[in-house]
Structure formats: structure tokens, C-alpha cells
């Protein structure tokens, strides 16, 4: 499939980025037909354990984790070619939820013993944490309100925890007398009930119900918990946006390919001007998204303030969420009938976009947050 993005025309990658990109391209090429993606759909844990292990072997799980904890300690700059390929290949693996968001909380938390013990296991693929912070639909504040700590016991609920089925432990935010704290709670803890619901992309969200569950290990107290959480979520938003960029880029490639092949009224449909202009508009959207992605990863790797990182994260998630939905849904339209079958892969891209665009705040939520932060 031809690369129609402007990356090779106008952007420059470092040598290291090229190496990383090549390895990621090769990795997703192994399952170009998306067989593993299809097999993992709607079957717990909603992703492929073997793929996860292979990613660990490539060192990807430790990208953002400092060397002292067994990782490689690189930045988003070097990670982004991997994230783009994850999106292009619809890789059935909870990379962002686990190796970005949960990893970020652990790396920035205050429990050195846990960090030393668990982070190397995360990097090796042997151990997977899942972050349970959200309580209500559309929630953007990191303050824990519903899940309460009383006498060292957790009671309440968490919702929208992605990819919990394969997780070993939960990172849980909970509200005490003085504010929000973060704990590491074992998945098998007494009093913890887990319900799963199918996501549209074939993965699962979990709802956690806590009934007098032992708090487990403290990761961050009220002085830092919200800040650690906010930072991890913003990194997750950016990473999800990069993955969305991959989703939209491949969707466009598949679509342009189809427009060249499919003949109607004795001409390839890609020769019709109305189709061309529509496709051009989608292309522009994808490149606008790429620009914001590149700008935002530079921001995350720099020394921007938490405020500026939040602004950047909302800017990029708003753009990529909208653009990915616009592009994938239009891709269905441009495919015609075949696009509406489960057999055609293009539909899988739409569904991935629907999940990633709505996770950690959709475009509407992020525009509102952006306005609040900047006006």
C-alpha cells in the first residue's frame, strides 16, 4: 500500500526514529490481513497475549520507563513511530493503557519499592497493571469522588477501565478525608468485583465494584496523586492521538487504493471529481492532525508546564478524535456497500477510531477543556 502521507515529502526523522519505524513497520506487516485483530475481538481479554509478549521482546514496553527501572528511557519523539504503526496495524494490544498511562503513573509515583519491583516486570511483559481512575461518563476531573477510603478500606465504583481482563493489578484513585490518593490493588483482592462490557472495537471496558477492599500499596498521597494522574492521562491522550493518526493514515491508504481499483460507470471511482475533492479534504484533515501530533510530542518531551501539556493534550486529542472519525466514516462511504460489511477491514478502523476517540475524553470534552484552560 502506498504511503500517501506528507511524512516522506516534508518531515525529517532522526536515524534512530527511522530504525524504530522500520522495526514497527516490519512488526505490523506480519499480520497485514489483521487476522489476529479479528481473532481477539470480543474474546477476553480482547487482545492477543502473544503479541504483547513480542512487543516486550522488541523493548517497546520500556520505551518511556527510565533505565534504572529496566526501561530504555526514551521520549515520545522516539515512541511516536511505534504508536503510528500500532494504529495502522490495529495491533491487538493495550499498549497505551498499559505501557503509557499506567506506566506513567508508576514511574512518577512515590513508592520506590513498588517501582523497583514492578516496572521491570511491566517492561518484560510479565506483569500488567490497569489504571482505574474514572467514575462517571464524560468525566474529565481527576478528583476521586465516588470511590472512598474509610479506615483503610475502599468502597465504591470505577468505570471505563480498558483492557482490565489481562491485567494483574489495578492502580486505583480513591478519595480520603484530605483528597485523592493512589493505590495499587491486587485484582484478586477480597471484595473487588469486576464486570466487563464489550467495546465497539472488540476489546473490553471493566466496571470495578469495591466493597470494603483493602487499600493495598500506597502509590501517591494527596500531595501528588492528582498531579501524577493528570500527567499520565495527558500522556495517554497524546499517545492515543498518535495511534489515531495511524488509524486515519492507514484508512486513507486503504481508501485511495480502493478508489484506484474500483470501477463504476466504466471508470475508476477515484477519477470522479466529487470523490477526489472529498478525499482531498480527508487527506488535509490527516495532515493537519499529523502537524499537531508532531508539535505536541515535542511539547511533551520538552520542559513545558503541566498547564501547557494539558492544553497541548486537549488540542491534539480534539483534533485527532474528530479527524479520525471523519476520515474513517467517510472511508466507509467511499467504499460503498463493501465498506459496511464486517469482512472488509476498513470497518475495523472505524471502530478503533470510535473507541480511541471516546476514551479519555472525546473531542467535545477536550475542546471544552481547552477553552477552560486558555480563555
Amino acid at each position: 500500500m502506498e504511503d500517501i502521507s506528507l511524512q516522506s515529502r516534508i518531515d525529517v526523522l532522526t536515524e534512530q526514529q527511522v530504525l524504530i519505524q522500520d522495526s514497527a513497520v516490519a512488526f505490523i506487516a506480519q499480520d497485514e490481513e489483521l487476522k489476529k485483530t479479528r481473532e481477539s475481538r470480543f474474546v477476553q481479554p480482547g487482545y492477543d497475549q502473544q503479541t504483547w509478549q513480542e512487543m516486550a521482546e522488541l523493548g517497546w514496553l520500556g520505551f518511556l520507563i527510565p533505565e534504572q527501572y529496566g526501561g530504555i528511557g526514551l521520549g515520545f519523539d522516539d515512541l511516536h513511530p511505534v504508536l503510528i504503526q500500532l494504529g495502522k496495524g490495529l495491533l491487538p494490544a493495550p499498549f497505551v493503557a498499559t505501557a503509557v498511562v499506567a506506566a506513567s503513573v508508576l514511574v512518577n509515583c512515590d513508592n520506590e519499592a513498588i517501582k523497583k519491583d514492578r516496572l521491570p516486570a511491566l517492561v518484560s511483559g510479565a506483569w500488567k497493571p490497569a489504571l482505574a481512575w474514572q467514575e462517571t461518563q464524560g468525566q474529565m476531573s481527576v478528583e476521586a469522588e465516588q470511590l472512598r477510603i474509610v479506615d483503610g478500606k475502599l468502597s465504591g465504583k470505577k468505570a471505563f477501565v480498558p483492557d482490565a481482563g489481562g491485567a494483574d493489578d489495578f492502580i486505583v484513585s480513591a478519595g480520603g478525608d484530605k483528597g485523592t490518593e493512589l493505590y495499587l490493588v491486587n485484582k484478586g483482592a477480597t471484595g473487588l468485583t469486576i464486570d466487563y462490557e464489550q467495546r465497539i472495537d472488540g476489546g473490553f471496558y471493566a466496571r470495578l465494584s469495591f466493597d470494603q477492599v483493602d487499600v493495598g500499596e500506597l502509590l501517591a498521597g494527596t500531595d501528588r496523586a492528582e498531579q501524577v494522574l493528570e500527567s499520565a492521562l495527558d500522556e495517554g491522550r497524546v499517545a492515543a492521538s498518535v495511534e489515531l493518526l495511524g488509524v486515519m493514515t492507514r484508512s486513507l491508504e486503504i481508501t485511495v487504493d480502493y478508489l484506484n481499483q474500483r470501477v463504476q460507470f466504466d471508470k475508476p471511482i477515484g477519477s470522479f471529481q466529487a470523490i477526489q475533492h472529498k478525499t482531498v479534504d480527508l487527506f488535509i484533515l490527516s495532515e493537519i492532525s499529523r502537524s499537531v501530533v508532531l508539535q505536541t510530542i515535542a511539547l511533551l518531551d520538552g520542559d513545558a508546564s503541566a498547564h501547557d501539556r494539558a492544553v497541548g493534550a486537549s488540542q491534539v486529542k480534539a483534533r485527532c478524535g474528530d479527524a479520525a472519525l471523519q476520515i474513517t466514516k467517510s472511508a466507509i462511504q467511499l467504499h460503498g456497500g463493501i465498506g459496511y460489511t464486517d469482512e472488509a477491514n476498513i470497518g475495523l478502523y472505524l471502530k478503533k477510531a470510535m473507541y480511541l476517540a471516546s476514551w479519555l475524553g472525546n473531542a467535545t470534552a477536550h475542546r471544552a477543556r481547552y477553552a477552560e484552560l486558555t480563555l
Binding site: I200, I275, T341, A357
Partner: protein, 387 residues
């Protein structure tokens, strides 16, 4: 149905007629099947087909002499409208809406005598074999061939997007009987029992994970020449006229209205009406629908006056389907994380599956002549812009 009953229906006061139909639905249509979000299979909706059949209400548009209700345009619209408002589901109705009118206009006496009663009785359930993998928007380029061999044809080819083929035992199809000349001129209409040797039906799972459509494969299928309707190589004209009959129905705002009512349920349940930004978007869509409805009624007036609707009806299809999509887009966006979940949000009016609605509204701009094709039609046939 007798001529007498027909006259009686058409003479009834509109409100009275409306009330009569409504009462029948309330008393007979299964509550749990109201407003079904997907197209129902025979095992779900077959009993209702038979109930309507027994009542004599299965074929409201057919003339009384063929066992139809014989409603005039006005009463027919009321009949449809009550059904839509009550959320009555579509039966596998291709025999009723397509094959019946086809045979009444173009069939031989023998064909009418054979097929019409079996449609009325629910014995013959039909599916439509028009589209092919290589012939979507460009229907006339169809390739499935029928080669004459004595008193039968041998059919070979591949049909697709065949709605509810798994529920049907008959297919009415377009086949190519002549490969020379203009591609529109070598097409013939055939009626084929699906249990004829050489036919294979394979369901197509759609993005909503339903099997509403199927592919139908024909491998040396023998079809008697007597099963041709309207004469060899006359299929295209007939098929086009037949599509005309249905055109006003694809313009009905019912799907957009239904989607809007689900959005409203969800909005109430989630408390979105307190959000001025949501209210503004909701109002825009509400007005789009109200204005569409005003336009739809303007077209319906034409039918009520006994007039014909031309290519301009394409505008209804465009506005209707695109409005419906905008509604489900707002629904998905307003559903936050639920926009990425299979399940739904609990509301007083039942579960609203935002992601499912969003996906379910996608094909409306593709099927029945894609909206790109509809725009081509309007440009040429109504605005008369140059080729």
C-alpha cells in the same frame, strides 16, 4: 379483500381510518418488536406477516381484485404513517412491495394466478437479486448471465446485498441475456425458486454485526423460460419503473425522527438538556428534521393529488439520510465513552446504543442509490447542468 371493503376504507373519515389502523396495531403487534433497531428476520416477524395476511392488510397498495386493500394515495399514506408512528417493523416484504406490483403490471395471467396468492399467504417469501460485486451504483453493468437452452435458461453469476435472502424461498432477479449493444438493453427479469439446484446463499455480516444481507451464488442454475417477467431483454425498464414506486418511501423522515427520539431519551437520561452547547446542536437537528418533514409533506401532497413524483425526490433521500447521520453523530459524541461501547445507556424509553446507532445509520447514504449518485441525478435531471 372485496371491492366493497376497499371502497369502505377509502370512504372513511381520515381520523376514523387512522384510529382503526392504530387500534389494530395496538391489539395485535407484539410490544417487544416495536421500534426494532435492526431489520427483523422471519423467525421474529413472520407471525406478524401472517397476522396481516389474515386481516387482509398485508398488501395495502395492491388493488382489491388481486387481494389487496386497494387504498387510495391518501389512505395509503395514513396507513404507512400509523405504522411508522407505532414502530411497526418491516416484514420480509419484497413480495408485497416489489414482486406484486411487478406482476400486476407486467406479469402474464398465469404468473399472476400462480404467484400473487402465494405471496398473500406467506408461502412465497422473496428477496431481490439486483446488485452484484462489480455493479453497485452502476447497476446496469451487471454480469450474471442467463443463457437460453431450450425451454429454460442456465444462470451463472453472483448477486450481493440481497436483503434477508436467508429468509426467502424465492428471488426476483435481473440477469444478462444479451452481451451486445448498450448494457441497459440486454437485461431480463427472472423469478427463481431459491431451492433450485446450483444456488448457494451466504450471509454477509455487516458492521452492526447483523446478517441482514447475503450473497447469492448461481452455478449452472436451470430456470424455466416461463419465469421471465415482461419479456427477454426488457428487464431494465421494468426495474427502473419499479424503483420509482418506492422512491417516496426512502425520503420519509421516519429514520431521522426515530434517531432523534432516541437522542432525546438519552439526553434526558444523561441530563444533557442542561448543557447549552448540546441544546444548540440538538435544536439545529430538530429544525433540520422539522424542515425535512415540511418538505416531505409537500411531496406527499403531490401523491394525494394523484400526481407523479420525478427525480426531484432524490433531495429527500439526501437530506433524510444525512440528517439521520448527523443525529447519530451527535448521539455518539454526547454519549462520551459510550460512543465506543457495544451496549447502551439506560433511559426511560429503553436502552439507547449510541455507537450502534452511529454505525447503523452509515449505510443509508450508500444503499438505494448512493447519495453521490442522487446528487448526479439532481444535477442532470433537475438542474439540467451540462454533461
Amino acid at each position: 379483500m372485496t371491492e366493497e371493503t376497499t371502497n369502505q376504507y377509502n370512504a372513511m373519515d381520515d381520523d376514523e381510518f387512522r384510529a382503526m389502523v392504530h387500534t389494530f396495531y395496538v391489539e395485535n403487534y407484539p410490544q417487544e418488536l416495536r421500534f426494532s433497531p435492526h431489520r427483523m428476520h422471519w423467525d421474529e416477524i413472520g407471525d406478524w406477516y401472517l397476522t396481516l395476511s389474515k386481516q387482509g392488510w398485508l398488501t395495502p397498495a395492491w388493488p382489491a381484485e388481486y387481494g389487496g386493500m386497494g387504498l387510495d394515495a391518501n389512505k395509503l399514506l395514513i396507513f404507512m404513517d400509523v405504522g411508522e408512528s407505532y414502530g411497526v417493523g418491516r416484514t420480509p416484504d419484497m413480495g408485497i412491495t416489489m414482486v406484486g406490483p411487478l406482476l400486476i403490471q407486467h406479469g402474464s395471467q398465469q404468473q399472476k394466478d400462480h404467484y400473487l396468492p402465494k405471496i398473500l399467504a406467506g408461502e412465497y417469501i422473496w428477496c431481490q437479486g439486483y446488485s452484484e460485486p462489480g455493479a453497485g451504483s452502476d447497476l446496469a453493468s451487471l454480469q450474471t448471465s442467463a443463457v437460453r437452452d431450450g425451454d429454460h435458461y442456465v444462470v451463472n453469476g453472483h448477486k450481493t446485498w440481497t436483503t434477508l435472502a436467508m429468509d426467502a424461498n424465492m428471488i426476483f432477479m435481473l440477469v444478462r441475456t444479451n452481451k451486445e449493444g448498450k448494457k441497459q438493453e440486454g437485461i431480463t427479469f427472472l423469478l427463481v425458486p431459491l431451492d433450485t439446484p446450483g444456488i448457494t446463499v451466504r450471509p454477509i455480516i455487516n458492521l452492526g454485526m447483523h446478517d441482514e444481507f447475503a450473497e447469492v451464488f448461481f452455478d449452472d442454475v436451470k430456470v424455466p423460460v416461463a419465469n421471465v417477467v415482461g419479456g427477454e431483454n426488457k428487464g431494465w425498464t421494468i426495474a427502473k419503473a419499479l424503483l420509482g414506486h418506492e422512491r417516496i418511501f426512502i425520503g420519509s423522515p421516519k429514520f431521522a425522527i426515530l434517531a432523534m427520539s432516541r437522542l432525546k431519551s438519552m439526553a434526558k437520561s444523561v441530563g444533557l438538556f442542561d448543557d447549552p452547547i448540546f441544546v444548540e446542536r440538538y435544536t439545529r437537528l430538530q429544525l433540520d428534521i422539522e424542515d425535512l418533514f415540511a418538505t416531505y409533506k409537500r411531496f406527499v401532497e403531490v401523491l394525494k393529488r394523484g400526481g407523479n413524483i420525478g427525480p426531484e425526490v432524490s433531495m429527500l433521500k439526501i437530506w433524510n439520510t444525512e440528517t439521520q447521520q448527523r443525529v447519530t453523530e451527535l448521539m455518539m459524541e454526547a454519549a462520551s465513552e459510550h460512543g465506543g461501547i457495544q451496549g447502551g445507556i439506560e433511559t426511560e424509553e429503553g436502552l439507547v446504543r449510541a455507537a450502534g446507532e452511529f454505525i447503523g445509520s452509515r449505510p443509508s447514504t450508500i444503499y438505494g442509490g448512493s447519495n453521490e449518485v442522487q446528487r448526479n441525478i439532481l444535477a442532470k435531471a433537475v438542474l439540467r447542468l451540462p454533461g
